[in-house]
Symmetry: C2
Subunit: 239 residues, 2 copies
């Protein structure tokens, strides 16, 4: 993990592979060669190896990854960092922290949304954490793509007209929410933490832009068909 620090001209791009069957859908929409660093979060190792992706790093309590996969990863040069099973952090949190420690400026997280409801929601909450504010962060969750928009991190996405976009404030209300390119426009608007007002917006012109002056908003795009729609531009480390 002796990666060089990111330079302005070439920010280090991390791919984080989580566990769960939905991960395959997200991985199929990505080019692994576009990433400088691959981190497998526990059982994500099996998903990565199955697609021929060798992680640089495997982190987690290693309770959901096979011994054979671990041995294979080690043989291929991966570093394995085992954490205690009774830990306070989820495997995704450990993986994000490891990516930052390795110097990543952007991270694409591929995780599962369809199986465990608690995991899916906790993963989205984790993405919104201020702990990762140094990272330009997006996630592929099954057929959805999620971008994390913070005060200093607006997002700008190339999306086809008609695509479904939802704005979800996480962890508290978001204020000063301004959008471009969406059917229901917001100009310095407020999204309450408990309300569904931001759900089911629609792209009318591209690029789509979303910014906030306080709080965190997840921009959820999709569902998209894996065969017809590529993932949007990779996260822009310039924020």
């Amino acid at each position: 993990m002796d990666q060089p620090p990111p330079s302005p001209s070439s920010p280090l791009a991390a791919l984080i592979v989580a566990a769960g069957p939905g991960v395959d859908t997200g991985l199929a929409r990505l080019d692994p060669a576009a990433f400088d660093l691959v981190v497998a979060a526990d059982g994500g190792l099996d998903r990565a190896l199955a697609r021929g992706i060798v992680p640089d790093l495997v982190v987690g309590d290693l309770d959901s990854v096979g011994a054979a996969a671990l041995a294979e990863a080690r043989r291929l040069g991966a570093r394995v960092v085992a954490h205690p099973r009774d830990k306070d952090e989820t495997d995704l949190e450990l993986a994000l922290a490891a990516a930052i420690e390795a110097g990543a400026a952007t991270a694409t997280v591929v995780c599962d949304g369809g199986g465990r409801l608690d995991h899916a929601v906790a993963n989205l909450c984790v993405l919104a954490s201020p702990r990762w504010r140094r990272l330009a962060l997006r996630a592929l969750v099954d057929e959805h793509e999620v971008h994390v928009v913070r005060t200093d991190r607006p997002c700008r996405l190339t999306l086809p007209p008609g695509a479904r976009v939802s704005l979800l404030p996480v962890g508290g209300p978001a204020t000063g929410v301004t959008t471009r390119g969406l059917r229901f426009a917001l100009e310095g608007g407020r999204l309450e933490a408990w309300a569904g007002r931001g759900v089911s917006n629609e792209v009318v012109s591209s690029p789509v832009e979303v910014s906030v002056t306080a709080g965190v908003v997840l921009v959820v795009v999709g569902p998209v068909s894996a065969s017809s729609t590529p993932t949007s531009d990779r996260p822009d480390a310039r924020g």
Copy 2:
């Protein structure tokens, strides 16, 4: 909808049926006869009728419900309240508001978790809203059961040892979180809005109790097998 106000001895119990394929899984685990009032949220009407459940009330923008189902519901005595399509509230919010207006003291929401990620997350955020604090509230989401725990609404659940339980703070941090019957115990603990610390706890003894002194915690139970595990006790209107 001219329901009597709830009396302490017999609180009015509402069943809210949302749209989506996962709703069938939840409905299969319930006895519709246990409810005094059934509200269909938009396309939930189709799901209800398919199981022989006739709603008392249908609410929503009616963009995802068939004309034949609407006509059938009206013929069977349901009241239909159509809202504008470009509304700020989701169908679930409209249904919860209607249940309270009709005098409900408890509500069981059956909704879909596996299809649209944005809907699933928004639904959980909506459940946590202080707007419904008068309701003892739980949701069946595919193979999961979700209970809303607020300052004045602890929850007490009969659950089998080994069952998976996650505690998810929603809309902000939760403090004074105290649990009974779970493997990783909390005694006046704090759960951060952005962290996954409350995920993947486990029942060691029943009943399980969860309370908070500030904030809102969703207690997510499951996944459970529809065939082997009944839903937990219906929400307790005494709070």
